[in-house]
């Protein structure tokens, strides 16, 4: 099947319908394996069992960033090729990306409580993720504000791309700001080498999260296409009752 066929919403729906059960199954399998591996991973000699939060926290952070990357690519599709499916992909990714980012923040907070003695520190990473979460909320608000979906799609695409340019700058600024304010006062993860006994479960969990993201995203795209069809049908109905 050529790529152009995928671009056709009807073909896409059919394909999504076939792919979804398999993706869901793969996700469940990856989570099963990953969780068992994470459970059996050795405890950290300093942090004890709390280090296991990492197996949720780190993949969630990755997927939070992955979501924005996906939206940025879709934004290109919306603005340059004006492809309707690109906007569907972007819109469907927003709440999922936001949810993963929130998961990252919450698990980070739960992890921070025993480790740092406080639920929130203005650590550079946490702050950057918080900003990312705020920007997700902004794009969601923008989609809700638009009356005309096509118009909202283009506005959101522009905001997404501007965000994509700015997020690295924000990250850099926050790192700079953080070293200025809190010179090495927080315990940082990211030792130079992670032991394979921890790294392997982490990667399996990351794969599971990625599969979960893709499954949810595909399902959300399908829903969005159907929602738009309903809207079009209603418009046609309104037009016919006029005539």
């Amino acid at each position: 099947m050529a790529l152009i066929d995928l671009a056709n919403p009807s073909r896409f729906l059919a394909l999504a319908g076939r792919a979804l059960p398999w993706l869901a199954f793969a996700t469940a399998l990856a989570f099963g394996v990953g969780l068992v591996m994470a459970f059996n991973a050795p405890d950290d000699y300093q942090q004890g069992a709390t280090v296991k939060i990492m197996f949720l926290h780190v993949p969630a952070a990755w997927l939070g960033m992955f979501g924005w990357t996906l939206m940025s690519l879709s934004a290109f599709g919306t603005l340059v090729w004006r492809h309707p499916l690109a906007d569907v992909a972007a819109k469907a990714a927003v709440p999922i990306g936001a949810a993963f980012t929130l998961l990252c923040l919450v698990t980070g907070s739960l992890w921070g409580r025993p480790m740092w003695g406080t639920s929130w520190v203005w650590d550079a990473r946490l702050t950057s993720v918080l900003v990312l979460f705020l920007m997700y909320l902004g794009v969601m608000a923008l989609y809700r504000t638009a009356e005309d979906p096509a118009r909202g799609a283009r506005a959101a695409a522009i905001l997404t791309l501007v965000g994509a340019i700015n997020l690295p700058i924000i990250k850099f600024s926050v790192d700079w700001w953080n070293t200025l304010h809190q010179p090495a006062s927080v315990i940082r993860l990211g030792a130079p080498a992670i032991h394979p006994a921890i790294l392997t479960p982490l990667l399996v969990m990351a794969l599971a999260f990625l599969l979960l993201f893709l499954t949810l995203h595909l399902a959300a795209m399908r829903n969005e296409i159907l929602r738009r069809r309903v809207r079009t049908l209603r418009l046609i109905q309104a037009d016919e009752s006029h005539a």
Partner: protein, 222 residues
């Protein structure tokens, strides 16, 4: 060039005349700085310490005040259609409007900032540095705000909401603006690096802002 000069002069005239937004930002700035000691107490040492930060927050909010109407008024009275039919590239026309907005809103802030520093118990020399950072950083605030203003026109509603949406994008400006101010006043880092980065942020925003705003307007008028 003549087109852009005409647009710049028109926007300055509109801001200065009755009903325009010039100086409202400066007034807002003044009132915020006056309210501040009531909120945190008249401790002069504390005020001096957090003064630069408060001035920067004040400047950030003040420069957003009139910004959400930057394109909305032109959209509502049909001027935006004609601006888009002019022979000057839309990006430059937007830049001219942004410059007019900066001259009438942000520049007065820079001018009154030393006065406010006096109220916040800052040294005169520190104040000139804070004013200098505001001078270097406010163009970035204006140009980032442009994007929100253009999106507000695109969506036909949401005015201030969209101006607020772009606020997270101003975090770098805030960080380096306040850092440069603090560096000039207390150290320990030298004034140069954060100030240079602040200037770089402004220059980058002057390029990105008008482009993104023009894209938003072109797509929005469809």
């Amino acid at each position: 060039m003549k087109e852009l000069a005409a647009l710049l002069m028109r926007d300055i005239k509109l801001a200065v005349r009755a009903g325009g937004g010039a100086l409202i930002g400066a007034l807002f700035f003044l009132i915020v700085a006056t309210l501040l000691p009531f909120a945190i107490g008249p401790d002069l040492a504390l005020l001096a310490r957090i003064g630069p930060a408060m001035l920067w927050i004040g400047a950030l909010l003040a420069s957003l005040l009139a910004l959400d109407r930057l394109f909305a008024t032109d959209y509502e009275d049909g001027s935006l259609d004609l601006i888009m039919m002019g022979r000057a590239p839309l990006e430059f026309a937007i830049l001219a409007k942004a410059l007019a907005h900066w001259l009438t809103t942000a520049l007065p802030l820079v001018v009154v900032a030393p006065l406010l520093g006096l109220l916040l118990n800052m040294e005169f020399q520190s104040m000139t540095f804070v004013a200098l950072t505001l001078l270097a950083g406010t163009p970035a605030l204006t140009c980032i705000g442009l994007i929100g203003a253009a999106l507000a026109v695109t969506l036909r509603r949401g005015g201030l909401l969209l101006a607020v949406l772009v606020l997270p994008l101003t975090i770098p400006v805030l960080i380096f603006g306040v850092a440069a101010s603090n560096a000039a006043i207390a150290g320990p880092v030298p004034f140069g690096p954060p100030f240079t980065i602040l200037c770089a942020l402004s220059l980058a925003s002057i390029v990105i802002g008008p482009f993104a705003a023009a894209a938003a307007l072109r797509h929005g008028l469809e």
